[in-house]
């Protein structure tokens, strides 16, 4: 009974003053920059993406069109080209780019003198601004006989290659440049993981008579498994959103050979002279996000089963 009367006495006003004197207001003041910035520039745009994909929007009006945007994207012949190219880029990036940092990190971790120099050299390409890296490599890829890479190939008797001007060589060339710019970051992650392998495990393996290779396969690799799983899925998520390389190297060409999903989104939204098709662009970006989310879920389920068995 007393609780009811006290509850009646606590009016809105007294509750508010209590909240303020209890520090509620100053806490909220501290959170204000975060709430404003995230609210306006992160949470609201994410919600808006969901709404916009079902609308036909120009800058003045927007109209509800149901799944039309998704249907339109599906019927665009560029869509399947972009999906195929993006998958090809991701696959090539895995083949070229996934083993390189791992091998590099294992070798660097065995270096005893000047280890800092090795590490810094491996990380240096990551520091070069990506735009500069792409423009520089674009020049390296010059198809003339006196292009930088063609000169080097000439030293070993190989004739000049067309590089990014050829529909078949363009994508591998892009992947090579992208790998150069990204491998160093992964090397550092592996190096950190390698230093946290408990030394006792190596000691124990040696007591059992294991040689260097046995230790590498039976101690190092299993200890790195968690990190390797994560870098794999992060790399796939990253390469599925590749934009800079195809945009600056080839603009999607030659003959759409390097048109990726992000490039297509960019074209929908920002390269249309009649005004952006924002609905199609957000619909495609949501499809990509949904695909990546499902892929990650399946992936983590699968790897969880592996690591427990």
């Amino acid at each position: 009974m007393s609780s009811t009367t006290s509850r009646q006495r606590v009016t809105v006003v007294t509750r508010l003053t209590r909240w303020i004197t209890g520090g509620g207001l100053s806490t909220l003041t501290f959170l204000l920059p975060l709430l404003l910035i995230f609210g306006i520039f992160s949470w609201w745009p994410i919600l808006r993406a969901g709404v916009m994909s079902f609308q036909e929007t120009n800058l003045v009006t927007s109209q509800w069109v149901g799944f039309d945007n998704f249907v339109k994207v599906f019927h665009d012949p560029s869509f399947f080209i972009a999906v195929k190219n993006t998958a090809y880029f991701a696959l090539l990036a895995l083949v070229f780019g996934y083993p390189v940092p791992l091998i590099g990190a294992v070798l660097i971790s065995e270096v005893r003198r000047l280890k800092g120099l090795y590490t810094a050299l491996a990380y240096l390409p990551v520091v070069v601004p990506p735009v500069v890296a792409v423009l520089l490599w674009k020049f390296f890829y010059s198809g003339s006989a006196t292009g930088v890479f063609n000169t080097v190939l000439g030293w070993v008797g190989i004739g000049p290659q067309p590089w990014i001007q050829d529909a078949h060589m363009a994508m591998p060339s892009l992947v090579l440049a992208a790998t150069w710019g990204a491998a160093g970051g992964t090397v550092i992650i592996y190096l950190a993981a390698l230093t946290s392998v408990p030394p006792e495990l190596y000691d124990a393996a040696e007591v059992d008579g294991a040689g260097i290779w046995r230790k590498l396969w039976n101690v190092t690799m299993p200890q790195l498994r968690g990190v390797l799983f994560i870098t794999l899925i992060l790399q796939i998520i990253g390469t599925a959103q590749v934009f800079l390389e195809p945009f600056l190297f080839t603009g999607g060409g030659p003959a759409n050979a390097t048109l990726t999903i992000l490039l297509l989104i960019y074209r929908y939204a920002f390269q249309n002279s009649l005004g952006g098709d924002y609905g199609a662009a957000t619909a495609l970006s949501l499809m990509l996000a949904a695909f990546l989310a499902i892929l990650s879920l399946v992936y983590f389920q699968a790897t969880k089963r592996w690591s427990t068995s």
Binding site: T27, F30, L121, P129, T146, V152, P199, Q241, G276
Partner: protein, 333 residues
Amino acid sequence: MTTYSQVPPAVAEERVGPDANAKVGGTRRRIARRGGAPLFDSSERTLMSGFERRKRSVRFTLFAINALLLIVLLVAGLGPIIWLAKSAITPTQDTLRTPMEFFPGGTAWDNLWKAWVDVKISTQFLNTIWVAVGSWLVQMLVATTGGFALAILKPAYAKVVNALIIGTLLVPSVVLLVPLYLTILNPPLIGHSLINTFWAVWLPAGASAFNVVLMSRFMGGLPSEIFEAARVDGAGPFRLFWSLALPMSKPILGVVSIFAVLAAWKDYLWPLLVLRDPAIQPLSVRLPTLQQAIELDVYLAALAISTLIPIAIFLIFQRLILRGAGLGGAIKG
């Protein structure tokens, strides 16, 4: 090395994490004192034992592998940068005819001057610095105040806010591209378009979940007794923030700051969309459009100038950056 008598170096260096904070001040000082010592202590034990290293066959192979690795790293890591530096001061014709030779027809130092003055790379250079500084300020403001509120003041709704922030980590940035662009065109509260103003880059940079998570995890690991003691002594939240939480978070502030500045230097697509006026574009946006307009040697000089600051930052803060890069992997995981 003797300074590491108690804490194993690998462990000490790993300790950017919050729980280690009590020791962080000391660790940082010790690292600083070590000066030019290698990144990781060489006495730590890795895959190969000392016994194995001393075996003659292993020793020879290892030497060969290390030498080969160094050559590969020099060619792949440093090679393109050296080439760029060389070509920046080489006349166009020499670079086109014999790209792999060093100065067959002398140098052309005035390329740098032409790029800086005639092409007005100086404007873009200052714009880039301006973009980086502003983005850094906004990120710092959001991450420090937000991290402090979530980790130390801990309001009842902190869990919800935290979940919403971590949730944004799961959304690929491409989803935000178009709606964020429309938000900048027609922002709430402000009433006029932010296109072609630096605010269009500065403000969205603040919405970095990565920064907030790093900050609040770090501050959450600070010893709570200190804050309780200060509260008992009558310190208000602003005092706790300014005199305790901020100074104690210096190590993580350094990591967040450097990555904020480097990220602003690297960003391309977003400034391309919202900074349409060449007069306020940063280097990354302007460089691709210069390609057709100017002489090749001056263009390469402009590329070289654009690389200067990030490489300088890397050389100065190498240790901090490399530790932070490893940390990034840990957080993402």
